[in-house]
């Protein structure tokens, strides 16, 4: 593929769709987390690609896209920490991380 904006967009669409497929089809809670990471990476790649290739306007900075990616990475770190805490707490309570077994929300 040539070094151009559509190539990057196609790669990030692939990341997004494979991540979504992972989220939809995994039974293992940690497998689902990996899918979420793929989706977030696809989004971040999109932001950086647009900030590199698009014509900069008067109001936006050239680096705005990269900063958005930076914030996405920070939010992903927070999300993974909380999600793994929930998974480990569910594991110690129910001895499994199969999401098909988590059918009740009572305490």
């Amino acid at each position: 593929m040539p070094y151009s904006l559509p190539s990057f967009l196609v790669v990030s669409s692939l990341l997004f769709c494979l991540g979504m497929f992972t989220v939809l089809t995994r039974r293992n809670a940690i497998g689902i987390l990996m899918g979420i990471e793929l989706v977030l990476n696809g989004a971040g790649l999109n932001f950086v690609a647009f900030s590199r290739f698009l014509e900069p306007s008067q109001t936006t900075n050239l680096l705005s896209g990269q900063l958005f990616t930076l914030f996405i990475i920070a939010v992903a770190a927070a999300e993974v920490a909380v999600a793994l805490a929930i998974v480990l707490s569910l594991y110690s309570r129910m001895k499994t991380i199969d999401v098909e077994d988590f059918k009740e929300l009572r305490g």
Binding site: Y3, P6, M20, T25, R27, L45, R52, L54, L70, A76
Partner: protein, 166 residues
């Protein structure tokens, strides 16, 4: 030359990605995720985002992936549970994501993006990003740091409560 390196990083990103989605072994999926994240870091560097590339390696590979592998190890005692759902659901998921993928790829390739006519040479970005984070984007930066703090405390609290068995 640049095109060759670019395509190598694309393959490095996309091929392990399929393994993450389809592998029947959670440990293999975790290590494929490592290669994918590294490939994305390479693509960031090729886009002239050196700082983001390094942050990607440090935070994703050094932090998030290690956490995920810890999680895999701590929850894999006993029987190996089936990793994916049964076939009808899988087909439904494949059709749904396939439709979305076709739509996204068509949008990416057929749209007329307002692409800059001349691509400037990539400049070092760290100093400019630091200026923006402590200037124009100060409030989001502080909110992000508070979010990280809250997530940290919340994670500890959730695990502690379940260990105590309250």
């Amino acid at each position: 030359m640049k095109d060759i390196i670019f395509n190598v990083f694309i393959l490095l990103t996309v091929i392990p990605c399929f393994w993450v989605a389809l592998s029947s072994n959670i440990v293999h999926a975790a290590f494929s995720l490592l290669i994918t994240l590294f490939g994305v870091a390479g693509l960031y560097v090729l886009l002239g985002a050196d700082f983001i590339g390094v942050v990607q390696v440090i935070v994703y590979i050094g932090g998030i992936l290690i956490l995920i592998i810890f999680g895999v190890m701590m929850t894999q005692r006993g029987k190996l549970l089936p990793l994916s759902i049964q076939l009808p659901g899988k087909v439904f998921g494949a059709v749904l994501t396939g439709v979305i993928l076709v739509a996204l790829v068509l949008t990416a390739t057929k749209s007329l993006w307002p692409v800059a006519s001349i691509l400037g040479e990539p400049q070092p970005t760290s100093a400019a990003i630091g200026d923006l984070l402590l200037g124009k984007y100060l409030i989001p930066f502080e909110v992000a740091s508070v979010l990280l703090l809250v997530a940290l405390v919340g994670a500890v609290l959730i695990v502690r409560r379940s260990v105590r068995g309250e």
